[in-house]
């Protein structure tokens, strides 16, 4: 038996009453044609997500985030044939990283600390498979100094914050379960949007600008064993493959001089151990807390609403 299927297929009570283009009720003066009216589903969510991505690149990022949040929150009110999960989530992460110069120069290490705050939406594709998307805002800080010396005038950053939006793709596949145990394979890819800081280079006769851009991508693949003995409580743990790849790009212009330098970085260890707990609160929503160790340190929390 599938453990507690209701937690994965709960429907929003009375949601059908809000459904645009829903079935006509007795007493309606005219029938309603469903065709061509507004419908929501996973495919529409995906389209909206990419539309928002497009807008973010071309318009006001914060405005688009609000649109995305509103869209995600309003899904349960507007649909009846969409089962899914909305998670308000945040995390605190610390990862040791290694820099490698563009020309394979001396390797340097640093620590990347970042906090994420965002929302994700997942939907059940099958009984065993969930996919989702997410977005949010991240506060990132690189502790050590980093020098860009392949420019006409050297630039440096130290203890520098780069704050930007991030976007996520999520997947969860339950490939085996027995009694109160289930075995899941979870994957998550996060893209931390490019963020740049600038400095004016001002001299008595000429002026210019130095710019440092940062973006990175993380990917995780978790093998989770979930234990679901007590009503409303799930304990999970397992190994994780964690990958991080990022890049700094420094650009400089000074009158008729210009230069560009890229420095890539990655984490120095790939395997982590993950453990956490998910608790149902008042039968309305769930709270999930998890921690990761070894390759990096991470504490994550989330408030989960399923419909």
């Amino acid at each position: 038996m599938y453990p507690k299927p209701d937690r994965f297929h709960r429907k929003y009570p009375g949601a059908e009453g809000f459904r645009p283009g829903g079935p006509a009720t007795v007493g309606d003066s005219k029938s309603v044609d469903n065709k061509g009216l507004w419908r929501f589903g996973p495919e529409r969510a995906l389209i909206d997500f990419f539309l928002v991505l497009y807008y973010i690149h071309n318009m006001n990022a914060k405005f688009c985030l609000v649109v995305l949040l509103m869209a995600l929150v309003s899904f349960p009110l507007l649909t009846v044939d969409l089962d899914g999960t909305v998670v308000l989530r945040s995390s605190l992460n610390s990862i040791a990283i290694e820099y490698a110069g563009a020309e394979g120069g001396e390797e340097m290490t640093d620590t990347l600390n970042y906090i994420t705050m965002g929302v994700s939406f997942s939907t059940d594709i099958t009984e065993s498979l969930k996919v989702g998307i997410g977005a949010g805002y991240s506060l990132k800080k690189y502790t050590g100094p980093l020098y860009f010396e392949q420019l006409p005038l050297s630039l440096m950053i130290e203890d520098q914050s780069f704050n930007s939006m991030y976007f996520s793709l999520l997947g969860d596949y339950r490939f085996f379960y027995v009694q109160n145990f289930s075995f899941n394979l979870s994957a998550e890819v996060n893209y931390f949007k490019l963020f740049e800081i600038n400095r004016e280079l001002s001299f008595p006769v000429v002026s210019g600008e130095g710019t440092v851009q940062n973006s990175f991508l993380t990917g995780t693949l978790d093998l989770l064993i979930k234990f679901d003995q007590v009503e409303g409580l799930t304990i999970f743990a397992g190994p994780e493959l964690h990958l991080l790849s990022g890049r700094f790009k420094a650009l400089e212009t000074l009158e008729d001089l210009s230069g560009e330098e890229s420095v890539t970085f990655r984490q120095d260890r790939f395997f982590a151990l993950l453990a956490g707990v998910q608790v149902e609160v008042l039968g309305l929503f769930e709270v999930k807390v998890e921690a990761k160790f070894l390759s990096h340190f991470s504490i994550r929390g989330g408030v989960i609403y399923e419909f």
């Binding site: 020098y147 010396e149 050297s154 630039l155 440096m156 950053i157 520098q160 440092v212 009158e255 001089l257």
Partner: protein
């Protein structure tokens, strides 16, 4: 109590405890933690309680009275990280820090006459023409090329060759030994390039004397090699044909930088062609503007090919003798600057130093700097380096002539602005 091995030092004065012999490369003092207590905690009582809790892991405990911190030294076998975590769990402890190391941000070489070289770092120090001289000088703090700060980032490469087109170089001078590579003598058409005037030795030492060797003075470029190209005779005169041949020779024989601390008032295609040839070979040509308080001499006046350098003094004023004009690119300290002194009439004196004045001594500061930048950023072309040297100069006469002007060009050389990184935040 397990504190029998603990020595509790309560220092009444402001003495700092001298810990185990430090490894200067370690990021913090080994085996040592500094504990900040809660505001209401008594250092003595808290220290005693803490040491009792930490047991025989602690070897020394002291109270730093001025800062009101506890300084704890642990047994070398103890993990400082674990000890720190243990301490942080104590309610009397507010914070625990490693005793991190800091270091000055200036790289100061140990050459004994460094204090005489206001051109490299001017703190307003007193300096003399000779050690026994009664007359002393004192400049304005900051009227220098910021070499100390720049050397923190780069001090040069032995692969850089600076050709000194002058009266030759005394390769036996104590601060030039091992620095001189083979050059050429265009006066006698030979490889004999010893200095029969002293000017070339003086100029060469400013550009690249052996530095941080406990001897004599510092060169702006610590490690560059010097190529003596003798084009001027013992009286200091050269002809344009020899100078043109010398420029071609240096460019064709591996010189990265050419320093020409001589010149004349007349232009000539002979010089121009030679300069064009050198520039095409990615050589940077630095020439002094002249000391007659008139228009810039040639070859410095060939703006297209040369960096023309005038002289400033210890107060960041333009030297009154420094030539000026539209082709002047920048100035560098050239008045009362220290250099290696060599008098061919006293050949046995190979450890002499003296102050000299003239645009001749400003140019090698720029030549040494160009050599630093070329080695530090080899991807830059000579034209780009020339632009950067000009762009980053300090506009020392901005009060009267803001921007590029006839008397200081772009301003006074600033080595740190060329080498040091610009924080982006």
């Amino acid at each position: 109590m397990r504190c029998r091995n603990i020595v509790l030092f309560l220092i009444a004065g402001g003495l700092l405890w001298a810990g185990p012999s430090p490894d200067p490369e370690a990021p913090y003092v080994p085996h040592e933690l500094i504990v900040k207590l809660q505001p209401d905690a008594s250092p003595v009582a808290a220290g005693t309680a803490l040491t009792a809790g930490l047991g025989d892991r602690v070897t020394v405990l002291q109270v730093e009275p001025t800062l009101n911190y506890l300084v704890i030294t642990f047994d070398p076998a103890v993990s400082l990280r674990e000890a720190r975590e243990d301490l942080l769990r104590d309610p009397a402890v507010r914070d625990v820090s490693y005793n991190y190391r800091a270091r000055i941000h200036d790289t100061i070489p140990d050459d004994p006459y460094l204090h005489q070289q206001y051109a490299l770092n001017n703190s307003g120090q007193e300096f003399y023409a000779y050690p026994e001289d009664e007359e002393s000088y004192r400049g304005t703090s900051g009227a220098d090329i910021k070499a100390f700060s720049a050397w923190d980032w780069y001090t040069g490469s032995a692969d850089t060759i600076i050709a000194i087109l002058d009266t030759g170089i005394c390769a036996e001078h104590e601060d030039l030994e091992g620095k001189v590579v083979q050059g050429y003598n265009f006066i006698e058409d030979s490889f004999e390039t010893s200095d029969d005037n002293g000017h070339g030795t003086f100029v060469a030492s400013i550009a690249a004397a052996s530095t941080h060797n406990g001897v004599g003075m510092a060169g702006v470029n610590w490690h560059a090699k010097l190529m003596p190209i003798k084009v001027a005779d013992s009286d200091g005169y050269a002809d344009y044909k020899s100078l043109a041949l010398a420029i071609r020779y240096a460019a064709d024989n591996g010189a990265d930088i050419l320093n020409i601390s001589l010149g004349g008032p007349n232009p000539s295609f002979i010089l121009e062609d030679a300069l064009e040839n050198a520039l095409a070979k990615n050589v940077i040509i630095v020439a002094s503007s002249g000391n007659t308080a008139t228009n810039v001499d040639y070859p410095a006046a060939y703006d297209k090919y040369c960096l023309a350098v005038g002289a400033s003094d210890e107060n960041d004023r333009i030297a009154e003798y420094s030539n000026y004009g539209y082709s002047l690119d920048l100035v560098a300290p050239g008045d009362k600057v220290l250099g290696a002194f060599y008098d061919p009439r006293l050949p046995e004196i190979l450890d002499g130093y003296a102050l000299g004045s003239g645009t001749s001594y400003a140019a090698p500061l720029v030549a040494g700097t160009a050599g630093l930048v070329k080695a530090y950023k080899p991807f830059l072309t000579n034209s780009e380096i020339i632009l950067l040297i000009k762009y980053t100069a300090d506009d020392i006469n901005a009060e009267y002539f803001p921007g590029v002007d006839l008397y200081a060009g772009y301003g006074r050389l600033n080595l740190y602005q060329l080498i040091g990184p610009y924080p982006v935040e």
